[in-house]
Amino acid sequence: MAIQNELTATLPITDPMLPRLTRVLVRRREGPETLTLELEAGAAAPAFLPGQFNMLYAFGIGEVAISMSGDPAVADRLVHTIRAVGETSTALTRLEAGDHVGVRGPFGAGWPMEAAYGCDVIVVAGGLGLAPLRPALYRILAERERYGKVVLLYGTRSPTDILYRHELERWRRRLDVQIEVTVDYANGPWHGHVGSVTTLIRRTDFDPLHGIAMVCGPETMMRVTALALKEAGLKEDAIYLSMERNMKCAIGFCGHCQFGPHFICKDGPVLRYDRLGDLLRLKEI
């Protein structure tokens, strides 16, 4: 705690470039390279909106953008699901309960929770893309009466890669939400769907005129998903995607995350498809 006292005593805690020092409370393995960290939020942690992200700082190694994946109604902890892909994310996945980590945020524009009031909500997640969508699902289920039909279509690699399995099973038992999970392949005792997530869209009934879609996953998956949703009758301005670009400042200063005219850290990560459509087709952007 000495570090925290030193830092908070000498620097203003509201500086968006200054990480708050926090501790790992819980570390939970989700899959082969993926785990969830629950961090102490502390009194200084602002509330977050579903779809926003934090910058997590592994001391002496680096800082990366990681989505909020917990329940926005729970104020005392920050929940992040991290996959080890490079140096910083691997360092974060090696943290144990009690270890320190730096946090800046929350940043960015989130999911259109209010715009979706009264609409059928189609949540389409691919792989780790379920993490930034989970807070939106918590919020929708907490305010269930405000939304029309609610469907989660989740595609992932194989049954062992299914994220938040217990939670999905619990939600599936509810009668007011439809949860469909598909995997790219199965080589064990799996009785669910096998095939791409777009096949689930084509099997799902919803009202396209009063529907809104929230989509997060690898860019290729989001591109074909958006097309399948359009084919199902959704308008481009009713489809929202969460984009990913490397971040540095996360507050719109450095230009690192620029994507056409958008700064993903500030204008996104959640952006409407009609504002993205053509950019998604460009290579090397």
């Binding site: 691919g126 392949y185 095939g195 777009t198 096949t199 997060c216 690898p218």
Partner: protein, 153 residues
């Protein structure tokens, strides 16, 4: 016992089938039930039938020596199973196994191909129904092959 022609148009795939074509397709069709675990066909069998699944779910599987059986696609309610019927003399290249009690309409490929040869309007109608499914399956297979969840968010 329900009438095959009626059951045919109750299936999403043929729901708007022209009145004139119904007896032609219906004449090649029969109703069939598979218990959970029962195979519809095996890799290497002649592709003599295709199936319209009414209820249930079927896994399409490949078995490679020394490896566990791999399911690469599931076919469910309202889906069509089997595109090989379009090509004469073809064989299945995978197994199909019912995951649960499955009710289907089985359509004899040879019978339907002969009717399509005699009536090109029927053939064109069927082509328009099957080509989109083929293309979507191709798109889906492409995505699966890319293994998009393996290396990126």
């Amino acid at each position: 016992m329900a009438d095959t022609g009626q059951v045919l148009v109750e299936h999403k795939f043929f729901s708007d089938l022209e009145e004139a074509f119904r007896p032609l397709v219906g004449g090649c069709a029969k109703m069939i039930i598979f218990e959970a675990g029962q195979y519809l066909f095996h890799d290497g069998d002649p592709a003599e039938w295709f199936y319209l699944v009414r209820y249930g779910r079927v896994a399409l599987e490949v078995v490679a020596p020394g490896r566990a059986t791999l399911t690469f696609q599931t076919i469910g309610e309202s889906d069509v199973l089997g595109m090989f019927w379009l090509m004469p003399q073809s064989h299945w290249t995978h197994d199909a196994r019912a995951l649960e009690l499955t009710h289907a309409i089985a359509i004899n490929a040879n019978c339907l191909r002969q009717k399509c040869e005699r009536d090109h309007d029927l053939g064109y109608d069927l082509m328009k129904r099957f080509v989109p499914i083929l293309l979507r399956r191709l798109e889906s297979a492409q995505l699966q092959m890319l293994d998009v969840y393996g290396h990126s968010k």
